[in-house]
Symmetry: C2
Subunit: 164 residues, 2 copies
DNA sequence: TATTGTTATACTCTATAACTATA
DNA sequence: TATAGTTATAGAGTATAACAATA
C-alpha cells in the first residue's frame, strides 16, 4: 500500500495516538541502549531505586515503582541471576528480603544511566534545548508532578504500572 | 505507606515514565468519555477513519490504524453487532469486505469526537493554550509527523500498534 | 500464485488466589 | 490476625499459522 501519509481521519490527529507512539519510540531507543548491558527496561527502574536508597524490600520496590509485588519476584530473580543484586533476609524482620546492589550492580547502574540519558537525548534531538525542557515540564504539569524530585510536596500518585 | 512523593532515584525523573503515565491518564479520560456511547478506544479510531473516507476494507483499516488484520476482525464484529457499521462484499473485489458507517454510526462518531475532544481538553487543562499547542507540536516533531494531516509529505510511519 | 478475510492457536504480560514463614 | 514473599493459575491482549474464497 501507499506510504503512511497523514490523511483526513488520520489517527495522528489524536493526542492519545501521539503520546502512545512517542512513548513507544523512546522505549525502543532506551531498550536498545541498555540491552548491551544485559538489562531490560523495568530492571533499570529497579536499579535506579536501589542505587538511590538501598537496601529496599521487594514490596517497597514494587510500591515505589508501581508494579505488582508478584511481578517484582521475577525481576529480582533475574537481577540476582545476573549478579546485580543480592537477596537476603532482613535481620530486623525476617519476612522481608533486603535487596542490595552488588559492586557489579552499581557499575551496571552507572553505565545504564548514561546509556539511558543518551537515548533520551536522541529522542529529543528534533527539539531545541528550550523546547525539550518545556516538553518535559508540560508532561510533569499534566501529571501534577512537581519539578524537582526532592521539592517536597507531591502530586497525586500515578496509577500502578511498570517501571518504564 | 507514605504518599508517593518523588525521591532520589524516583522513576518520575525518567522521560519514559512521564510519557507512559501521561498516555495512561489521557487514555483513562478518553475511555471514560466515550464509554457512555458504548464505544471502546480502538473502536473510536475505526469510526474516525471510516467517517473520513468510507468505504474501507478491513485490511485498509488495519493498515491505516496500525493494528493486526486479525485483530480488526473482532473490532468490526463488535461494531457490526452494535449497528454502527455494515459489512458487505465489495462488488469490485469480492474477497474484500466494504465497511461502511450506518446512520447511527455517523451520529455516534460525531458524539464520540466531541466527547474525546473534551477529554483532551481536561487532560491539557493544567497547561495554558500556548503551552498545550507547543506540547502537541513537540510530540509531532519527535515522531516526524508534519503539522497538518493533509500537508502532503509524510514522516516515517510509526510502528504497528492499536488505534489508541 | 497471491490476497482478503476468518478461525484456531500460541505467546506475552500482568493480576488474582492460595500457601509458607514470620510477626 | 496480619504481612512479606513465593508459586500456580487465569485473564487480557496480540501475533502467527492454516484455511476457504476469490483474483
Amino acid at each position: 500500500m501507499s506510504s503512511a501519509r497523514p490523511a483526513a481521519g488520520d489517527p495522528s490527529e489524536l493526542l492519545t495516538y501521539l503520546l502512545k507512539h512517542a512513548h513507544r519510540r523512546l522505549l525502543a531507543l532506551a531498550d536498545a541502549a541498555i540491552e548491551p548491558l544485559g538489562l531490560e527496561g523495568r530492571e533499570f527502574g529497579v536499579l535506579r531505586a536501589l542505587a538511590a536508597r538501598e537496601p529496599l524490600s521487594q514490596q517497597a520496590l514494587a510500591g515505589d515503582l508501581g508494579v505488582d509485588p508478584t511481578t517484582m519476584v521475577a525481576v529480582i530473580d533475574a537481577l540476582e541471576d545476573k549478579g546485580i543484586v543480592t537477596r537476603r533476609p532482613d535481620p530486623a524482620d525476617r519476612r522481608r528480603n533486603a535487596i542490595e546492589l552488588t559492586e557489579a550492580g552499581r557499575a551496571t547502574n552507572r553505565d545504564a544511566e548514561a546509556a539511558y540519558r543518551a537515548a533520551e537525548a536522541e529522542f529529543l534531538a528534533p527539539l531545541g534545548g528550550a523546547e525539550a525542557a518545556a516538553f518535559s515540564a508540560s508532561l510533569r504539569a499534566v501529571l501534577a508532578i512537581p519539578d524537582g524530585p526532592d521539592t517536597g510536596d507531591a502530586g497525586v500518585a500515578p496509577a500502578r504500572t511498570d517501571a518504564g
